[in-house]
């Protein structure tokens, strides 16, 4: 019960009768435009003109009023009801049991009168095409009847229909073709088209006062037992659950979507949507409330007040201040999207939703917060900025004013609770990933910077690397580098440098990792470095680092020189002369073999020099193994097999040159092959 839907504002603090009599009570009120009519217990109708000033002063009421005229009826009896027929400029006044028609301007009686009237009501939606038709439903004194009259522009009150009821009516309300009424001891509903009367429910004739009001098309609200408010439709059924008033009613009205019930102590505001009480406004001596064309007036015996609807923006604002966020959102849902195109979110609503999102965030209700942040398209920087040090170092971002929240930062918010701070960081990470992937935000620098920092901090190194390896990373380099350095993430640092074109610094970092000067377990070693060099595709750079790689690992190193045609990405092809490479690799026999095999087997180069050189390399290994007796018998045999297969397959080598070498090693089968080749 925290909605502030209405504000009670005084108009006439102390009403006094034109007669000067004391203890005169306000019996009834009516309003037409800026005119307010008060009917008194001493037979007066008093006309006021009421202005609502726009300049809101704190001193008093925004309303000013002035008495414009009055009408005094003969006897000292009360004016029981006043209704205005604004279009006809007439006032219908029930004085004692006579219904008078007055000119609204000068309050002079005109036309006919109806006698013996117990009560009456206006049907604001009569079933008739005449827009000037003013229809009233009249309950005669002590007769079981209801009579429909049409008040005409020529000052006549014409009887249009009469329905017979079991008992006289106490009070009634009408809409379209339906009249709902309280008889002496029960409520009934009357279908005028069919003339059918349906009993609703009984009540105690003496101890119970019935109240009823129209709430929707052909739907009424009735006061029932135990302070219940029962809804009823034309068919005599209830289509909404009942509501309950906590204080005995003295008057009842409806102002969409609120039901306003007045008691002697408070004004109770219930929502018709969920039938729950939303607001309680203290008001002593409440007697009378009415909705007069959208103006709500509420009276005690001697004061006239207005219930001013609080604009929905203010209601939502107040709810958010008190952190009644669910109610604020449900109110937002009910407000139409005024003045904005379909698909566009009202900026005011957007802001409220963002505020709500921060409230959920601060409660660690992160799923709801996420939906709201996304739905309300929050400026990502607002969220990033409550996490210390995640913003780029040179940021000029300032939080929006007035602020969306009162969070200084997450440490303050969660009082240093590690678990909650961690959850918040993971939440932000998830949020930023979505923002990064969607590419909708214009704050990619801030998003990517924070994303990198969070990955680094939370140890999500794989994600960190794939972020850095993606072409779309646009974080702030300086603050990211510093962040990574502080956390010993040298590999990521090198990736970032490389990504930002700072190649030499990146490579030198990796060199330091290879040499053991720096350590980062995320660095995958020399093969990775070789891949980087190849990807760079710059011969100069390649030659610069080739020794380093080959010294560490010949097998990985040779990959530098092998243009892998099958790789999916067309690496920038370097023009590497095979002779230069082969000469260079002389120092690295294993690498040289792999390179020559690549030239011959993969590239199909038929140059004699390479073929002979490969054979010589094979022979050298065998020779080395034989003389030094290193390696196993199996290795030796394997190498001999390799040589044999090559000698059989290739026709490009210089057989004669090889012959002596092979013979020296006592490889007679191979000697035979060579002889065979020489012979051809």
């Amino acid at each position: 019960m925290s909605v502030k839907a209405y504000e009670l504002v005084q108009i006439i603090q102390r009403f006094s009768s034109p007669s000067g009599e004391k203890n005169v009570k306000i019996e009834c009120v009516e309003c037409s435009g800026k005119y307010v009519f008060i009917g008194t217990s001493d037979g007066h109708v008093v006309k006021y003109i009421v202005h609502e000033t726009t300049a809101k002063s704190n001193i008093g009421s925004p309303f000013t009023y002035q008495r414009e005229g009055q009408r005094y009826f003969d006897a000292k009896k009360p004016v029981r009801s006043i209704r205005a027929a604004s279009a006809l400029e007439k006032l219908l006044v029930l004085f004692d049991t006579t219904l008078h028609v007055l000119n609204m301007n000068d309050l002079e009686p005109i036309g006919s009168r109806l006698k013996s009237v117990q009560t009456f009501c206006v049907n604001e939606n009569p079933k008739c095409s005449d827009p000037f038709l003013f229809q009233i439903c009249v309950a005669p004194v002590s007769k079981g009847q209801v009579c429909i009259y049409n008040v005409t522009p020529d000052d006549k009150i014409n009887l249009s229909n009469t329905y017979t009821l079991q008992e006289p009516i106490k009070c009634l309300s009408a809409d379209c073709g339906i009249i709902c009424a309280a008889l002496q001891d029960k409520y009934i509903i009357l279908d005028c088209d069919h003339g059918q009367v349906q009993d609703l429910f009984p009540f105690d004739k003496d101890a119970f006062t019935p109240y009823l009001c129209k709430v929707a098309k052909e739907e009424f609200l009735l006061s029932g037992p135990d302070g219940l408010g029962i809804f009823v439709c034309a068919a005599g059924t209830s289509n909404r659950p009942p509501l309950q008033w906590s204080y005995p009613l003295t008057s009842l009205t409806f102002h969409h979507p609120y039901i306003l019930g007045v008691s002697h102590e408070i004004i109770m505001v219930h929502s018709i949507v969920d039938q729950q009480q939303k607001q309680a406004i203290p008001f002593l001596g409440g007697q009378l409330i009415g909705n007069y064309d959208g103006h709500i007036y509420v009276c005690s015996q001697t004061s006239l007040n207005a219930l001013v609807p609080v604009p929905w923006e203010k209601q939502v604002e107040a709810l958010l201040v008190d952190e009644h966020v669910e109610e604020a959102l449900s109110l937002l849902e009910k407000v139409g999207n005024s003045g904005h195109l379909v698909g566009q979110i009202d900026p005011v609503k957007k802001r409220f939703k963002q505020q709500a999102a921060f409230i959920y965030f601060s409660r660690s209700e992160l799923e709801i917060a996420l939906d709201l942040f996304l739905d309300a398209e929050v400026d990502e920087r607002e969220l990033i900025s409550i996490f210390p040090r995640l913003m780029p170092s040179a940021t000029t971002f300032l939080r929006t004013v007035p602020p969306l929240h009162n969070i200084a930062d997450v440490n303050q918010l969660f009082h240093g609770n590690e678990q909650r701070i961690l959850e918040a960081k993971q939440f932000l990470l998830h949020f930023l990933q979505m923002a990064h992937d969607s590419r909708k935000s214009s704050y990619t620098v801030e998003i990517d910077t924070a994303l990198l920092k969070l990955y680094a901090e939370l140890g999500q190194n794989k994600d960190l690397e794939s972020l850095l390896e993606s072409a779309s990373f646009s974080g702030d380099v300086q603050s990211c580098l510093a962040w990574l350095k502080d956390r010993g993430l040298h590999h990521a640092r090198a990736l970032l440098l490389l990504q930002k074109g700072n190649r030499s610094e990146a490579l030198s970092l990796w060199c330091q990792m290879i040499s053991g000067e720096l350590f980062d377990s995320n660095f995958k070693g020399i093969s990775f470095f070789a891949d980087v060099l190849k990807a760079i595709g710059d011969a100069e750079v390649l030659w610069q680092y080739a020794d380093l790689v080959l010294d560490n690992n010949e097998v990985d190193g040779v990959e530098l020189f092998i243009q892998n045609q099958t790789a999916g990405t067309p690496t920038p092809t370097m023009e590497l002369d095979p002779h230069t490479v082969a000469d260079y690799l002389q120092r690295y026999p294993k690498a040289l073999i792999l390179y020559l095999e690549y030239l011959i087997n993969e590239k199909g180069i038929e140059e004699e020099k390479f073929h002979t050189q490969l054979a010589v390399q094979y022979i050298d290994i065998i020779a080395k193994q034989k003389t030094q007796d290193t390696g196993s018998e199996v290795d030796l045999n394997e190498n001999i097999q390799r040589l044999r297969r090559f000698l059989e397959k290739s026709n490009q080598y210089r057989s004669k040159f090889l012959l002596s070498k092979v013979r020296d090693l006592g490889l007679y089968q191979e000697v035979a092959i060579l002889y065979g080749k020489v012979g051809t």
């Binding site: 009993d199 609703l200 429910f201 009984p202 009540f203 929707a216 098309k217 052909e218 739907e219 029932g224 037992p225 135990d226 219940l228 029962i230 009823v232 439709c233 034309a234 068919a235 005599g236 059924t237 209830s238 289509n239 909404r240 659950p241 009942p242 309950q244 969409h256 979507p257 018709i272 949507v273």
Partner: protein, 215 residues
Amino acid sequence: MANRGGAAQRPSPQTQGKICQFKLVLLGESAVGKSSLVLRFVKGQFHEYQESTIGAAFLTQTVCLEDTTVKFEIWDTAGQERYHSLAPMYYRGAQAAIIVYDITNMDSFGRAKVWVKELQRQASPNIVIALAGNKADLANSRAVECDEAQAYADENGLLFMETSAKTAKNVNEIFLAIAKKLPKNEQVSGSGSANQGRRLVESDTSAKTAGNCCK
């Protein structure tokens, strides 16, 4: 479905499942477990100390029966005697009613019989009435014999089950039995008033509830 891939067709009532809405009311003496049955059926929950209902409560639940989706609009009435006079507001126009008694309380069974009579006299003539002997989990303290209730139900053409909102025994079953017994096609009915409140909505049109302009 022969011309699959042709022009988009509106789903026809023959091939698409129907959605039927039915108004169902629960009646019975106070504290027999009406709200608990509804809570079990709608939310699958049970509260040992269910608060007593003030006036009436409204809930909905949907069940599927072969090709038909049955949406129950459930009116759970207050059992206390002072609210008795309000009951017609809620059972009027209902297509189905569950009259609940407590198997450990003979008086509540007597009260259930009075409700049956009232419905037979005043509710829609075609109303489907089910009798639920609730609190079947308390069979140790049984005061109403199952056979007796069954015989009474048979005599009066009522569905009958002993239920337990606490253990969920027969709760879904009794609602399903009612759903099966309710007429699911728009037959030409003899009198309008008897069928008032029933809305039959094809699934390709959004269900609009007349008179509920405030959502």
